[in-house]
Amino acid sequence: MPEKIARPSASDPYNKLGGQRLLGVHELMVRSRLLEERLIKMSKGGDGFFWIGGPGEEAFNVPLGLQVKKGHGVDYDFLHLHYRSSAIVMALGGKPIDAIRQMRSVATDPYSKGRNFVNHYAIPEWNIVPVSPTIETQYSTAIGTGIAQARAKTDAVTIVNGGDAGTAEGDFHSCLVWANRPVLPLPILIVVVNNGYGISTKEETQHGEKLISDWAKVFPDMPARTVDGNDVAAAWGALEEAFAYVRKNRRPYLLEARCSRLYGHSSSSGANRIPEADCIEILEKNMVSRGLAKADQLKKVWEREAAAIDEAHKQVKTEPFPADESVWEDVFADGLPPSYPTKGGS
């Protein structure tokens, strides 16, 4: 069957993004998805422990990562991410092998030396501050880099990313209040990815607010928007608008993205595929139907990325686990005092 080609339209958001860019987005989405699926398999197969990640958020997170002003220091964007942000890191240039290393908790894990859960990044070269397992604390720490950038002469911004359930925490509201202080508004892109659940609890049973972006209504100078995060073109456009606003006006913007959660909360809920809309399938349909890619071409991306992840996983299995005594590294920046207690009791 020949692929059905829609009549090209210049105003169509997919056509506006163009085939070349969409192919790049697609490749990163596939890489992120296959990475997460490999991490899940590792967790289930005893090649690591707890898994938590972000399969289902790729259509929003890849466009976000691609619009970041990447670099180190206040003249570049700061990222306060959470454990579902793998596709952002892939879009910035993260390597799947490093996430696999963290999953297996080997000595070569560049983000935590085998100390933290998978998808807990720390990449100073790209201003990705340490990801924490605590819920919503990144919305408090975002205030700090936001202040540093508000003081600097720069167009760089702070991006904070978390989930819908976490917005019940005070940290979310701290971020809104501090970002909107009249004496020093902060250039923060406040992102909430709404997948409709907090672990197993449905959002509508706990949240009376109609939209999370409605929280912006009490701050008349803060724009806000809710976007379909399963749609690359919608996500790209919304992010472009939000980034541009924050960069130029040096003020906050609240962006809510509705996304699927394709493997549940984490390994604690089984990490099995859930029948929700799949953003990669949606993208592929949109590309093929517009003639922006061929199905075979997209299939090859899956094969190529899967082979690369196989290769990375094989490599990681040859790498050593951390030495016991390495736990004494990095306790203090200036080293462990010789008389620090290290015996674990008598």
Partner: protein, 351 residues
């Protein structure tokens, strides 16, 4: 002679002019008040934050990650309990990131009792602070140490929790900070006038880079018969007791002022106890899982046969809070008479 509040203020001024401190903030830290104990009065970089402890510590951590050297204040340590996870993140960020992110931030906060502060202005935090592994914890008992520890805390690439004994904020020391002018001149230079302060600007004395190494205790009174290990508000009380014992011929008591709780100066504790064989720990924390209990356990492990009497702890009573009524507060918290009684018993204990 500077008060502890003035000493901290001058150290922060040195920090903002010489050490790259660009943000000094917290509730009522900026003008017009300059802090509830005036420790931030007149500072160029001091500003008022929302009344939000979580935002304050989050802001400090983010600023540290962005390369600043922030000094944040929690107005009273009693308000710090709702930010313990953010303090933990500050403490463990360097370790959890495999050494990728340093956290050069100072969190200062008034601690302890002695100001009739009742339930929520009398807390101590020492023992909980000592569990925030990765965080350095300091607590001065004199203005000169307050100055030197603040300078060291600002310079540190680790997060430092700087505990300010509430009851000592107005106290004066016995040693001048290098470069400190006389008391009257200092007051005229750096204390804000009462009333309208909008046009007032301090004139800062030229003080040096005097600093106290974090992790180093100080022998505030040398002795040979018994050791008292203490810090913060209890340190001057113990010093007075040691002087009285010496004057009355009741024993030669060495007072070791820890100054740093984490890392603590184990070598100094060991050296003193090796000399005296008798040791009393005195602090304001409650006795259950008191920080000093760890030190006692370690002494028992490492110096059992050098101890001439059982080590002792004089601490706060394990009540749910500090009561307002002076008789109750004095009953709950160690007082000078309690220190003297405990010292007398320690010295009288047969070897």
């Amino acid at each position: 002679m500077a008060s502890m509040a003035q000493a901290i203020r001058m150290a922060l001024h040195y920090g903002e002019t010489e050490l790259g401190v660009t943000e000094i903030f917290g509730e009522d830290v900026g003008p017009p008040l300059g802090g509830v104990f005036t420790a931030t009065q007149g500072l160029e970089r001091a500003w008022n934050s929302p009344l939000d402890e979580r935002g304050i510590i989050g802001a400090a951590l983010g600023l540290a990650w962005a390369g600043a050297r922030p000094v944040a204040e929690i107005q009273f340590v009693d308000y710090i309990f709702n930010v313990i996870d953010l303090l933990k993140l500050s403490a463990n960020g360097h370790w959890s990131s495999g050494g990728k992110y340093k956290t050069p931030m100072v969190v200062m906060t008034p601690t302890g009792s002695g100001i009739h502060g009742s339930m929520y202005h009398s807390h101590s935090f020492d023992s909980i602070a000592s569990k925030l592994h990765g965080m350095k914890v300091v607590c001065p008992s004199t203005p000169i140490d307050a100055y030197g520890l603040m300078v060291a805390a600002i310079k540190s690439d680790d997060p430092v929790l700087y505990l300010k004994p509430k009851a000592l904020m107005r106290s004066k020391g016995e040693e001048l900070i290098p470069g400190e002018p006389d008391e009257k001149t200092l007051h005229e230079m750096i204390d804000a006038p009462l009333g309208d302060r909008t046009k007032w600007k301090p004139k800062w004395p030229k003080l040096g880079a005097y600093s106290v190494e974090i992790g180093k205790a100080k022998i505030s009174h040398p002795g040979s018969d018994a050791t008292v290990v203490t810090h913060g508000r209890m340190a001057p009380i113990c010093l007075e007791a040691a002087r009285r014992f010496a004057a009355e011929g009741r024993g030669s008591v060495e007072v070791l002022d820890l100054r740093s709780l984490i890392p603590y100066d184990w070598d100094a504790i060991k050296a003193s106890v090796k000399k005296t064989g008798r040791v009393l720990f005195v602090n304001e924390e409650t006795e259950i899982t008191n920080f000093a209990e760890h030190l006692i356990r370690r002494l028992v492990d490492e110096m059992f046969y050098e101890l001439r009497a059982r080590p002792r702890l004089l601490a706060g009573k394990a009540t749910p809070g500090i009561a307002l009524s002076p008789s109750l507060e004095n009953f709950i918290q160690p007082q000078k008479a309690d220190v003297e009684r405990a010292l007398g018993e320690l010295l009288a204990d047969p070897a």
